[in-house]
Symmetry: C2
Subunit: 884 residues, 2 copies
């Protein structure tokens, strides 16, 4: 038979799935002998049963009854007893913390009789009345779903009657009046008197907590945080203890270390004569936890000892809630404490020094996300003025610029050299150009999955969205309190906090980012030293190498500074933008002879391009991808040409329009690109390979060690690679240059036939961007801003498959290709150069799949190095945990 | 050690790979004891050695020498003997017949001495001289690569000198003169005298044949026919026999049955006193083979007996070449005879009656290609006028219409109800609309892989291309002999023969096509009876069912007539064209409320659509695919709107343009389609499922047996299917209608995660069109007309992967998904509804992969039924042949 109820004494911290986080940790503390009020947990399984069938499991009644008895006997009180009643709280607690999202009911067990007993036992009549009216108020709202407004109105009426400014000024008598009024409100609202049976209160409250799992706000929160919707919540039934029983009572929250900075020493707040909700509500003035030493030294010392026990036991910073009832300390909750990115690094390093964890573990205690947060520039945190408005922090970073209100203006001003912040009510795909041009993006509508948010994160661009207090019009915006932002006004936005300021706020470059490009200074602060320590250990542990994607010498230098040991993707099409675009246009539109002339011109230019990047990466590999232009990007716009021809027709224009129409593709992503173009335009790839060979030769003559590798894009069939690689190798031979020739694996068919393709390749580089596009049938340009938000809401995926590798689909192709490729060609070198190469979760997969390197944008190199180390250490740790 | 030479007595018909077709069959006839001149074959392996290394294998010399000795001893003559010389021919012969593509040299072994012996032995001085000059002429051209023109000029000069009108009028003396002149020409051309060493002649001729494998015309032919380029050719060295030794000599070609009609009885041509080349050249008037009975009864009787032996032995129609030298019959070649589509069916059936083959084998003797040829309409073959011009038959069928010279005019006239033939110099993707509108397509440029050809075949549209004799101008075309075709002129084109006529030629509907839609008439002709017999046996043998793709009741009825036992794909987006397009446009552009109103309207219309098709297929399954529109096809053209807005701006137009721009997709193929649209537009799929359920209910009430199945398109992840299928099943339940709910497998990820997806699906239908597009990264609309021709030339593939399933890439996904799907859900029903469902080669794959049915266009149903039967019989046959 299924067990639906666990006593705190019979669970442990490992049972989060079944007991929820709160319940599991209460059990763990109980097992440690810490002073936890007696109680038990109704499992998430009971919740799932309830949510599926609409009713509680029948066997639950007996189980709860039995455990309740144990609590009663431990406390020496009975639920509903008219002389000395036991009160309990009914608290939600899911596997993953969902603060404030679900319901809790306190003081269950009071009724017209037992309230008298409570008054007698506590010796505090007013306290008893207050506790009862709180139960009725909370029960009515949470369990019975009544409108809370009349209850608030009743309090206001009593206060007016009594001439009291605050509730605390109400007399005992007034409190009893309030109890009566609240009972009347329940009778009116539900047609029935307030339930007097404590067990009825208990069951109704339990069901209410279960129901609250599916409340709208809880669902929204789960979608946002990527928490599965079928987990359900547990319910914790805990004997009530009271921090509001006078000056020798109180309540507090604490961390075993400072969660903001990681500084050692306890950190928390305490409030005398109050309950936990008063601390959380922020309606009372708390004192620093250290003050408790003066107020109640015994409890303080005991608390310190408990906190030390907890930190040693959990081997991490703990976050606790406690209550002191008339000099007795009770632990109400603990969990591993959340912390800032900076604190995560210093704490991890300190815990090593304290002997609590190993360096291996310390590397696992920080995340790539945290490291990348530390690398973004920020606004100076100390002296910030109050923001003008706040929105949703959608894509981190600090951006400052002049306001613009259309994509066109953003592009114009950016081209004129200005930093601009693009402000839109909401963005859509037409704004893409403007978003690329802008330093930051600000919208009035939409959340973290809105078009603006998704696209900005994809571009690594600062974005604040959903600033509801901002009314965005055609050429200006107005805040709720009437401040107007006009085009040209300077504004500053913080994508990490959601703050928006009028005017220019100074941006501080990140000291962590600066650290990565320099030697460790002797006077480095604790954070930098912690980062340095963990990064060194990650590097020393990792098997995967980290390369970078870079198209210019400058990018390559930056990548090298950040620790890249190769260039995994040099996109030659980026060398054809700007003024050279016309050459490509001519190349595509010309006949064979015309093409020859263009190619001769391009050879000179490309030789220079390659010399620059090979020089910057002297001694390290540089994988140069031969041209893979989406054709349409190099042709004049068919719409512009059509309009021009319709308004002022010319013969030349007509000729061009005809040619562009001929080359126009319905789906350029799946059109004449990559190796296809290389095979169709005679001499194109040959020109590029010659330029690479000539650049390498020249550098060698200077005594350098250029190490180019040639990569053929968009191969779907071994014959395509055979033709282009054979020609490339012949040209390299002619020049006497040795260079590996390999291919992107970015078309599903290439992955499926990797065994064949490997016979012609020195290396594979997985192009997981295109591979994701084709495997899912997603045109990234179209879908991310169109229905990805909806898909995340619907739970099709939590994270965009363009951000984190879809291991079950795309990953399957990668693993399959690695296996078949290596089987056919054991020397095959394997890497990845899609954006996933910089994503920690994906890097873990690439490590497990057996790749040799990941290549990512220069700025992500440190994150990738950390993730590579973590993946290797997790392997090691995984082996250990298996042997337990 | 490798054996490079096989005597005719030591090979057999099974050794085609090594001996080539000609050599293997000569060996087989030798083994049968038929009179084959002595000889031997140098293998294709020697050729491959030669082509790779540039030289003959060293051990070949000894081997050839030894086999030559055997021939000499068999003939009692020696090569180069001055008294009684042996002459041999050196004949090419590859695995697959490549008629006229490679070289042959006759009369090897003659020199200034042996020619005297030949004269003496033959008693014919003129014959000897003529034979010698033929050797020199052929050797100079073929082996030495000299220009043939001076040799022809020398003959003309001699004829003029002799006052002779033809070569046969030249005297013996003139022949000798010609020998001298030819020898002079060789000396002048090569700087060396004509080689007198017979062995030197032999080796040079052998190398020349090997080299001719890589001649330009041979390469072109292979590419066109899809013959691998690394096979190489064999060389046959055969003792010469002479049909030109007077009236008791002669030569002929024959078939054991009529290859045009399949009629029983021998069929062929005979020419007295001539060599084979004279018959082939068509320069002499041959007589019917039956005349030989009068000319040389003994040889005739012997030939008839041999032909019977051959047909019994090969169990098929044979095509032979023979020579009679002074009353002695020699067999020079045999092979299984090529035949027309009609003959293939009647012969296969007749051979069963003759007891030569089983009915199982007979089904394997015809091809889907032949059946589909028989189903095209034709021009009346008997009374055809001479065509105006001829081109390349690129896509079969007979089309008649008025000429148009632009896509625009084609569309206009077609919309006005006219049949048009679109005439273009060459077509490009802009012509697509016109090609769709036209009854037939005619181009002046390009071969079978040109844009016009590829696209027309894809559409099943009649096409003649590469009519070089036609000069196509802007609004008319001129033939080489000055005939002008103007817009509006009627023309007729035959895509099966390449003929083009001015004026209207009557089109005969195909009697075979008519047969499929009717009961077999009692007076059916031999062809129809043969087709009926083989189709019945194919149906009885097959495991795969054949369903059809149909979107209307009329299409469904036609499919049923052709033998479809279900509709595998009813595309509901086809129900939204025409006047209803506006509704879809409104649906897409409206807000939620507006959408609701449109959906209500659509529900009515769709209920009617579904009622019609379910009624037509009463009692048979109809798989209805929920809407999968490429969004852009339902929206106004962004180019037209932009032009309109630029020229005559209106507010309404601007609003529309903004909306269209917002929805505009860069790659609509990979955009907001299929289930994505179904999940984004609230109520869309629900409306369609309701319409299906209502239609089914209404038909049931009429007492019919509607069997709808609901198919969700473009699923990539199980959650998409879960959401849409759950909703569909709920609606079906509400209506009390039972219907399977399944999904297309057309996105690579769906195939990769088929095990998960199967848990939510009652059936899979492989959409191999889209699956091919995404697996290869090919946008069909763009690539077929753009670089597919080039890719076929380069050998990336022989056949477009859209025509025949790419088994190694796309097929791998299909097999994988079948396996994983069935493992997860043993009851899963599996089919395919891409165009590959009508392609015989692909059907063989689907049979092997274990699908339950294939679904194809109604017209292809008979072909698919035949292929399904063949696939099952090949399985059976495969088992048999294993046990041999």
């Amino acid at each position: 038979m299924t067990t639906y109820v666990y006593d705190f004494a019979s669970g442990d911290a490992g049972m989060r799935d079944l007991l929820g986080g709160k319940g599991a940790n209460l059990a763990e503390m109980t097992r440690l002998g810490l002073p936890v009020p007696p109680g038990f947990t109704i499992t998430t399984e009971a919740c799932r049963h309830y949510l599926q069938s609409g009713g509680l499991p029948p066997e639950l009644t007996d189980e709860v009854h039995e455990h309740l008895k144990a609590v009663e006997s431990a406390m020496g009180r009975r639920l509903g007893d008219k002389d000395d009643p036991l009160l309990v709280s009914v608290r939600s607690g899911a596997k993953f913390s969902m603060p404030g999202m679900m319901d809790t009911v306190l003081n269950i067990g009071l009724n017209d009789e037992s309230v008298v007993g409570l008054a007698r036992q506590s010796g505090d009549d007013r306290f008893a009345a207050d506790t009862y009216r709180r139960l009725i108020q909370m029960f009515a709202k949470t369990v019975q779903g009544l409108d809370p407004q009349p209850f608030d109105a009743a309090i206001d009426a009593i206060k007016a009657e009594a001439g009291a400014a605050t509730e605390s000024q109400l007399s005992t008598e007034h409190m009893w009046k309030l109890v009566d009024r609240f009972k009347d409100l329940v009778l009116t609202g539900t047609g029935k008197p307030f339930p007097q049976q404590p067990s009825e209160q208990l069951w109704q409250a339990t069901e209410a907590v279960f129901r609250s799992w599916n409340s709208e706000r809880a669902e929204l929160y789960r979608r946002r945080e990527g928490i599965a919707s079928d987990l359900g919540t547990a319910v914790n039934i805990v004997a009530m203890v009271f921090g509001n029983l006078g000056e020798d009572s109180g309540t507090g929250v604490a961390f075993t270390r400072d969660p903001a900075t990681g500084a050692q020493g306890i950190y928390g707040d305490y409030l005398t004569g109050a309950q936990g909700e008063d601390v959380v509500a922020g309606t009372h003035n708390t004192v620093a936890l250290t003050e408790l030493e003066k107020i109640d030294k015994a409890s303080y010392d005991k608390l310190l000892a408990i906190m030390e026990t907890l930190e040693n036991h959990y081997r991490d910073v703990c976050d606790i809630e406690f209550t002191i009832e008339r000099g007795t300390l009770w632990m109400l909750q603990t969990r591993v404490g959340k912390r800032t990115a900076a604190a995560a690094f210093t704490i991890a390093s300190d815990l090593v020094d304290d002997g609590l964890i190993s360096l291996d573990e310390a590397v696992g205690r920080v995340s790539g996300e945290q490291l990348s947060q530390l690398m973004f520039p920020t606004f100076d945190g100390e002296n910030l003025p109050a923001p003008l408005v706040r929105g949703i922090p959608a894509s981190p970073g600090a951006a400052v610029g002049t306001a613009v209100f259309s994509a066109e203006r953003a592009i114009e001003k950016a081209q004129a050299g200005q930093d601009v912040i693009l402000i839109r009510r909401e963005t859509n795909p037409d704004d893409l150009g403007g978003m690329i041009a802008a330093a930051g993006i600000l919208t009035a509508r939409g959340g973290k999955t809105s078009h603006a948010a998704v696209v900005a994160r994809g571009m690594g661009k600062t974005c604040v969205c959903g600033v509801e207090a901002l009314q965005v019009l055609a050429d200006h915006a107005i805040t709720a309190d009437g401040h107007t932002i006009r085009e040209g006004d300077e504004i500053s936005i913080d994508g990490s906090t959601g703050a928006v300021w009028a005017g220019r706020i100074d941006v501080c470059p990140s000291p962590v980012a600066r650290y990565f490009t320099k030697e460790l200074p002797a006077d480095a602060d604790r954070l930098i030293r912690a980062v340095d320590r963990l990064m060194r250990h990650a590097d020393a542990s990792s098997r995967l190498h980290v390369w970078a994607n870079a198209d210019t010498g400058a990018d390559a230098e930056r990548a090298r500074e950040f620790g890249a040991v190769g260039i995994g993707l040099c996109r030659t099409e980026h060398m054809f933008l700007g003024e050279r675009r016309q050459l490509v246009e001519r190349l595509v539109l010309a006949n064979e002879e015309g093409q020859k002339a263009v190619l001769d011109q391009l050879l000179e230019l490309q030789r220079g391009d390659f010399t620059e990047i090979l020089r910057a990466m002297d001694g390290l590999p540089v994988v140069i991808r031969l041209l893979d232009p989406p054709l349409h990007e190099f042709l004049p716009s068919i719409i512009d040409l059509s309009i021009a021809q319709a308004t002022e027709p010319t013969t030349e224009n007509e000729k061009l329009l005809t040619a562009v129409k001929r080359l126009h593709e319905h789906n350029p992503m799946l059109g004449l690109r990559g190796v296809r173009l290389g095979l169709v335009i005679k001499g194109l790839y040959e020109m590029q390979v010659s330029a690479i060979a000539q650049a390498a030769l020249a550098l060698k003559q200077e005594g350098l060690d250029p190490r180019p590798e040639i990569m053929i894009p968009l191969v779907a069939d071994v014959t395509e690679l055979h033709l282009s690689a054979t020609s490339a190798r012949a040209i390299l031979n002619e020049h006497g240059v040795l260079a590996p020739v390999g291919t992107m694996i970015e078309v599903p068919r290439a992955a499926l036939t990797a065994g064949d393709i490997a016979t012609e390749a020195d290396f594979f580089s997985f192009g997981t961007n295109d591979l994701t596009q084709m495997t899912w049938g997603f045109s990234r340009d179209d879908v991310e801003g169109s229905f990805f938000g909806k898909y995340q809401e619907l739970g099709v995926f939590d994270t965009s498959p363009f951000a984190t590798l879809d291991t079950s689909g795309v990953g399957q192709l990668v693993s399959q290709a690695v296996k078949a490729g290596r089987a056919a060609q054991p020397e095959l070198h394997l890497g990845v150069c899609g954006e996933h190469g910089g994503d920690p979760e994906s890097i873990q997969f690439f490590h497990a799949a057996g790749l040799d390197y990941v290549s990512c944008s220069p700025f992500r190199v440190p994150v990738a190095r950390l993730a590579a180390g973590q993946a290797a250490l997790a392997d090691k740790g995984g082996e250990k945990s298996d042997s337990r």
